[in-house]
C-alpha cells in the first residue's frame, strides 16, 4: 500500500487547516483510490482549509462541478426549452449547439463546449446590423450619402449591441435560468452585501449567450437568415433591443 505524501506547500498550519488521513466515509469527494493487487480499498486523503476540502493530485467529484442550481450538465428537458421558444421553428438549431451557446467558459473549467467565439462573432454581427439599421433610417440630413445618414452619435449604436442591453433581453427570454456558468463572486466579503450583475459577471455571461445564439444562427443558417432574425426578434417585437436600450441608455456627460 502506498500513500502519497503531502507536499510541504500543502501542509496545513494549525489555526486554519486540519489534516485528516484515514478511512473517513463521510466525505463525499476528494477520494483517491489506490488499488493494490489483492484487495481494492478506498483511502481518503483530505486537506481542509477554511472548510474547503482540497489537495493536489486529487480529482474533484465530477457531479459537483457539473451541477448549477441543482441541474446537472447537460441538463433536463427544460434546459433548452426557453432558448428553443426564443428561436422558433424557423431559426432552429441542433440541441448540442444550443447547449453550447448557453455554456460559459467559466463552467467546468472549460471542459464542456463553450460559447466564447460564437459570442464574439454574434456581437460583431449584431453591431454591424445595428449600425446598418441606424444609418438606413429615413432622414432629411443634407449630408446623407445615398440616403444613408452617417452623422449619428456612436454611443446609442454601441448600446444596442452592448452587454447591458442584451443582459436584459436574456432575462426577458428566460434563457438566463438555464445558463451553465460559475459566478465570480456573489457578495461583498467584508459587508456581506449582494453584489450587482456587473460584479458577479452575470451581465456579460447572460449577454454572451444571446450573442452566441446570433453567432450560431449565422454559422448554421447563413447571413440572410441571421439578418432576418435580428430584424425580426431583436430590433422589433417583444424582445426589441431598442425598447430595452431606451431604459438602460444614459448619455455620457
Amino acid at each position: 500500500m502506498y500513500l502519497r505524501q503531502i507536499p510541504r506547500s500543502l501542509r496545513p498550519f494549525q489555526p486554519l487547516g486540519r489534516l485528516v488521513v484515514g478511512e473517513s466515509a463521510g466525505i463525499s469527494h476528494g477520494q483517491l483510490a489506490f488499488k493494490s493487487q489483492q484487495t481494492q480499498q478506498v483511502r481518503t486523503l483530505v486537506y481542509t482549509k477554511d472548510g474547503v476540502v482540497r489537495a493536489r493530485g486529487l480529482k474533484k467529484n465530477e457531479e459537483e462541478y457539473l451541477t448549477v442550481n441543482g441541474v446537472t450538465y447537460p441538463g433536463n428537458e427544460d434546459t433548452l426549452k426557453d432558448a428553443k421558444t426564443f428561436l422558433g421553428e424557423e431559426y432552429s438549431l441542433p440541441d448540442p449547439v444550443i447547449l453550447q451557446t448557453i455554456t460559459h467558459k467559466s463552467f467546468a473549467h472549460g471542459k464542456k463546449p463553450y460559447n466564447e467565439k460564437l459570442a464574439i462573432l454574434g456581437k460583431e454581427f449584431l453591431r454591424l446590423q445595428a449600425s446598418h439599421y441606424a444609418v438606413s433610417q429615413t432622414n432629411d440630413n443634407p449630408h446623407a450619402i445615398n440616403k444613408h445618414n452617417f452623422d449619428i452619435s456612436p454611443q446609442p449604436i454601441e448600446v444596442l449591441s452592448s452587454s447591458v442591453a442584451l443582459h436584459e433581453v436574456c432575462k426577458k427570454t428566460g434563457i438566463h435560468k438555464n445558463i451553465f456558468w460559475k459566478k465570480r463572486i456573489s457578495e461583498n466579503t467584508s459587508t456581506g452585501q449582494e453584489l450587482d450583475a456587473k460584479f458577479t459577471g452575470e451581465q456579460s455571461v447572460f449577454a454572451r449567450s444571446i450573442h452566441a445564439l446570433i453567432g450560431a444562427i449565422l454559422l448554421r443558417h447563413g447571413e440572410p437568415k441571421a439578418r432576418k432574425f435580428i430584424s425580426e426578434k431583436l430590433l422589433s417585437g417583444p424582445y426589441s433591443l431598442i425598447s430595452v436600450s431606451e431604459k438602460v441608455y444614459a448619455p455620457r456627460p
Binding site: N149, F150, L218, G222
Partner: protein, 381 residues
C-alpha cells in the same frame, strides 16, 4: 476666438496683418496649435490661456444634434454648419479621379464621397468630415475580418483570433494600406494653407488632418496630446480607409463592402498563423486536450537520435495517442524534442481549416447554405 488672443501668443506683426474676418477657421486652428505651445509656459498663466482651454473643450463636444429620443436615428444631424462637397467640383479633381480609378471603385461611387472620406475632423475645412463614415466603416471591417478567420480557422483560440484580426484592422495596418494606395497626406494647419493662398477647394483630394507632432525647431518635435484637434498620422489614414469602406457600403450595400474588404484588406496580406501561436505548457495542454476529446493519453516516444554524447546531439521525438501519431519534433535535448512534438501536435489541432468552407455572408437565399464548422472552444489548463 478673438484676435486679441492671437496677438498675445504670436505677437508677430506679419501674422496680425494677415488676419481678416474671412479666416475665422484658420484662426481656430492656429489657436488650438498655440494652445499646445502654451503648455510650455504654463507658469505664465495668462488669461488668454484659459480662454483657449475652454474653447478647445467646447469644440470637441456636441458634434451631433441629438434628438429627444437617442434611438430615433433618422433625426440625427450635424450640429455645426458645414457645406457638402459638390459632385461637379469633386469630379474635376485629378487626385480623386486617379484614386477612384486606381481602386477600381464602381461608377456608383461618387467622387464627392471619396473627397469626404479624406477629410478628418481635425482638418478645419468648411466641408463635412468623415467621422461618422469612419465609425460605421470600423464595425463593417471588424465583422468581415472576424468572420473570415473564424470560418477559415474555426479552432483558433480566441486570443489568437483577436490578434489576427488586430493585424488586419489596427490603425498602423490600415494606415500602411492607405499609404500604399498613394493617398497624399496634407497636415498643414488651415492657417498655413491660408497663408499659402490655398482655399479649401484647392486641397480636396488629399488626406486633410492636423498632426499631433509639431516641429518647433530643427530637431525638436512637440507632441500635442489634446482633444480631437490633433491626430496621429496613422489614425488619420486609418479613418480614411474605414470611411472608404463605409462609402462603398453607402453606394453599393453590404455585399460590395464585403467584397471590397476581401479584395483589398484580407487577401493581399498573408499572415503565417503557425508562427504567431505560442504555448506556455504544451505537453500539459496536449494531455488536457486528449482527455477532453476522449483520446488516449499522449505518450512521447524517441524515434531517432544521433550524437547523444557529442556536443551537437539531435533527438527526434514523436507524440502518440494510442497508435496514432499526433506530432513530431526534433531538438538538441530530449526535453526540447518532446516539447516541440507537443507544440506541433497542438498547432495541427488548432490550425485545422475545413476544405471548401462557405462564408455565412457569401450566401444568398436561393441556395442551400452549407453549415460552417462550430468549434467547442480552446483547451483551458
Amino acid at each position: 476666438m478673438s484676435v486679441n488672443a492671437l496677438r498675445t501668443n504670436c505677437g508677430s506683426a506679419s501674422l496680425r496683418a494677415a488676419i481678416s474676418a474671412q479666416s475665422q477657421r484658420a484662426l481656430a486652428s492656429l489657436n488650438s496649435r498655440s494652445a499646445g505651445l502654451l503648455l510650455k509656459n504654463r507658469n505664465a498663466g495668462s488669461l488668454s490661456q484659459k480662454r483657449f482651454q475652454t474653447t478647445a473643450t467646447a469644440s470637441s463636444k456636441a458634434t451631433y444634434k441629438s434628438p429627444e429620443n437617442p434611438f430615433n436615428f433618422g433625426a440625427y444631424a450635424r450640429s455645426e454648419e458645414v457645406e457638402a462637397i459638390p459632385e461637379s467640383l469633386a469630379s474635376k479633381i485629378p487626385a480623386l479621379r486617379a484614386l477612384h480609378a486606381r481602386l477600381g471603385l464602381s461608377e456608383k461611387f461618387l467622387y464627392s464621397t471619396l473627397a469626404r472620406a479624406l477629410i478628418c475632423r481635425s482638418s478645419n475645412v468648411k466641408f463635412a468630415d468623415n467621422v461618422g463614415l469612419a465609425n460605421f466603416g470600423k464595425s463593417v471591417l471588424s465583422f468581415y475580418v472576424y468572420e473570415y478567420f473564424l470560418v477559415k480557422y474555426p479552432r483558433l483560440p480566441h486570443k489568437v483570433l483577436r490578434h489576427v484580426v488586430e493585424l488586419y484592422t489596427s490603425l498602423p495596418a490600415l494606415s500602411k494600406l492607405g499609404t500604399s494606395w498613394g493617398v497624399e497626406p496634407d497636415s498643414r494647419s488651415s492657417f498655413t494653407r491660408y497663408l499659402a493662398e490655398q482655399s479649401d477647394e484647392d486641397v480636396l483630394g488629399r488626406l486633410l488632418f492636423t498632426e499631433n507632432l509639431v516641429q518647433q525647431e530643427p530637431g525638436v518635435v512637440q507632441v500635442v496630446d489634446s482633444d480631437k484637434n490633433h491626430v496621429d498620422f496613422n489614425e488619420a489614414m486609418a479613418s480614411f480607409v474605414r470611411s472608404l469602406v463605409a462609402g462603398v457600403y453607402a453606394h453599393g450595400g453590404l455585399e460590395e463592402a464585403r467584397d471590397f474588404i476581401h479584395k483589398y484588406i484580407i487577401l493581399p496580406r498573408k499572415v503565417d498563423m503557425a508562427s504567431i501561436m505560442s504555448f506556455d505548457k504544451p505537453t500539459r495542454e496536449l494531455a488536457v486536450l486528449c482527455s477532453r476529446e476522449g483520446l488516449e493519453q499522449p505518450v512521447s516516444r524517441l524515434l531517432a537520435e544521433t550524437g547523444r554524447y557529442s556536443k551537437a546531439p539531435v533527438f527526434v521525438v514523436g507524440v502518440f495517442s494510442g497508435s496514432s501519431k499526433l506530432g513530431e519534433g526534433q531538438g538538441a535535448s530530449l526535453n526540447e524534442a518532446r516539447t516541440r512534438a507537443a507544440v506541433h501536435a497542438l498547432k495541427a489541432w488548432y490550425l485545422y481549416s475545413p476544405i471548401n468552407s462557405q462564408l455565412p455572408s457569401d450566401h444568398n437565399e436561393s441556395t442551400e447554405f452549407k453549415p460552417a464548422f462550430i468549434d467547442t472552444g480552446a483547451v483551458v489548463i
